[in-house]
């Protein structure tokens, strides 16, 4: 029994890395024969990665980027939830502000970068506020939409058992839309990473995005590759981290992770 379980595990792991592994090997073979400056070999990229992001590079560039990301994302989630709960309870206000909110939601968040640079100047405040702005909108819309369409059965339970106030919000209403909120949180995290990199590429002298684009402009292609790998790794890694935290929450809300659909 144990062996069978192990074999299944093993093969899933195999499936997971098979294709990337084939691609990396193919790239290595091609890059070492092509000798193009744009396409350094895997070894060169790995060395550049360690040099760029290890030691001082980590403190100077990775930490500020991740700090901006965390500050913007977390404040956006909190603000989005609070405003979403408030709006879901004020019907008239909600109907009145929804056109503006949907307009802002449809506005590609990266297009806000020039505006925020001009107003907030170049620096961490700019990245953080765009991220927070975009995440707030995204979480707010999903919270409002989820709460407005909340199961009428739960509304009855709240009335009959006179469950009110924070208990109603935190123990009944928000958990009932947890799958949707968690999905929105994941999408918002991806968006945050994108905005972080874009805002650094447009208007910053430090940070992961800035280093990546600056090295491209100064013909340091292995550093550029190190930056691209970093961006990809961040995207995959933070998403995996999120899933790890999401799965037990979903299980607790009584809904299997597979049952969720994309919004």
């Amino acid at each position: 029994m144990k062996e069978i379980l192990l074999a299944v595990r093993h093969s899933r792991w195999l499936k997971f890395i098979a294709l990337p592994l084939v691609l990396i090997v193919a790239y290595q073979l091609w890059a070492s024969s092509a000798q193009s400056p744009f396409f350094p070999t895997v070894g060169v990229i790995a060395v550049a990665f360690v040099e760029t992001w290890g030691g001082d590079g980590f403190v100077e560039n990775v930490v500020p980027s991740l700090t901006n990301l965390a500050v913007g994302y977390i404040s956006g989630v909190i603000l989005g939830l609070v405003l979403g709960v408030l709006l879901s309870r004020m019907t008239v206000v909600r109907i009145a502000v929804m056109p503006i909110v949907s307009f802002l939601l449809a506005l590609p968040a990266v297009a806000l970068v020039p505006l925020f640079i001009t107003v907030a100047g170049i620096g961490p405040a700019m990245s953080q506020s765009i991220i927070a702005f975009a995440v707030t909108l995204y979480v707010l819309v999903n919270t409002v939409d989820g709460l407005v369409k909340v199961d009428s059965g739960l509304v009855d339970v709240n009335h009959v058992f006179r469950i009110r106030g924070w208990r109603q919000i935190l123990l009944v209403l928000l958990p009932s839309i947890a799958p949707r909120l968690l999905g929105a949180g994941r999408a918002a995290l991806s968006l945050s990473i994108l905005i972080m990199v874009v805002s650094e590429m447009v208007g910053a002298s430090a940070g992961i995005g800035a280093v990546t684009l600056l090295s491209q402009q100064s013909f340091q292609y292995s550093t550029m590759w190190a930056g691209m790998v970093m961006v990809a790794v961040l995207g995959i890694g933070l998403n995996a981290l999120y899933l790890m935290f999401e799965r037990p929450m979903l299980r607790r809300s009584g809904i299997s992770p597979m049952a969720r659909t994309i919004k």
Binding site: A18, F103, P108, G227
Partner: protein, 266 residues
């Protein structure tokens, strides 16, 4: 007392529309008022009137129109090429569970890679032309469409497939009559999401990659510190996004039409 058997005034469609219009109007008035009283400083935001006037003067300008054309055509081209690749591949995976099992986890893993990742290299290799924007958009939304299409074509109820088997429906019909219609709403949702992201990727390529379009105008307005122009262009980009969102919502509704009130996914 909680009165639930009385339909409240806000459930009337016209009342809602009125409140919405009032909300937009109030927003504009508040904005203008905040500027006039000096509470909203001009180095943070121009007044509503100034922004509207700026947008109004932009619309007839030929270089602005050219930029809009550039943005829209590059977006549409990139999106169409990506969708044309991803949809058939997704349908193939959907019909072939074995292959899907092999690639599923890899695709899921690749999806969270930010759509900007290839940008520095792609500019280098391809310059800032149509092929560049297409590759960027493709990298950004290919996985999303592919996963949605595959997911959509695997959600078909086993009963429906059994029905097809019992009535000895051939493989082609099986696909056309049974799988595709049940997949259509989910595919449409994927396309809507992908269309929005494609537009964002296009704007992003213009901001950073120097591709001609509205994004490039935004960058030069930022360089000139021209706040009214920045607000007008950002607002215009929002309108573009809104139009794209509304169009694809329409497509989604159309795809859902034959599924009854509760058809499809969410």
């Amino acid at each position: 007392m909680q009165v639930q058997n009385q339909r409240s005034l806000t459930s009337n469609r016209w009342v809602r529309l009125g409140i919405s219009l009032g909300g937009v109007l109030a927003f504009f008035i508040l904005w203008e008022g905040a500027s006039r009283t000096g509470w909203l400083r001009p180095d943070v935001a121009p007044s509503f009137m100034d922004t509207a006037a700026e947008l109004g003067s932009l619309l007839p300008q030929s270089d602005f129109q050219a930029a809009v054309r550039d943005t829209l055509s590059a977006w549409l081209f990139g999106f169409a090429v990506t969708a044309a690749l991803a949809i058939p591949i997704g349908l193939l995976f959907g019909a072939n569970p074995w292959a899907w099992k092999w690639f599923h986890s890899t695709f899921e893993a690749v999806r969270p890679i930010p759509p900007i990742v290839l940008l520095p290299l792609a500019i280098l290799v391809m310059g800032s032309g149509r092929s560049f924007t297409t590759v960027m958009i493709g990298q950004g939304v290919f996985w999303i469409i592919l996963l949605q299409v595959t997911y959509g074509s695997t959600v078909i109820a086993p009963v429906a497939l059994d029905t097809a088997t019992v009535f000895r429906v051939g493989p082609w019909r099986r696909y056309l009559i049974f799988r595709l219609p049940s997949a259509a709403p989910i595919i449409a949702t994927g396309l809507r999401i992908a269309a929005g992201i494609s537009l964002a990727v296009e704007i992003m390529s213009e901001l950073i990659g120097g591709v001609p379009g509205v994004g490039q105008l935004l960058i030069s307005a930022q360089a000139g510190n021209d706040l009214p122009l920045i607000y007008a262009l950002t607002g215009f980009t929002g309108l573009l996004g809104l139009i794209v969102a509304i169009l694809f919502r329409g497509l989604e509704r159309f795809a859902l039409k034959n599924h009854g009130p509760k058809g499809g996914a969410e």
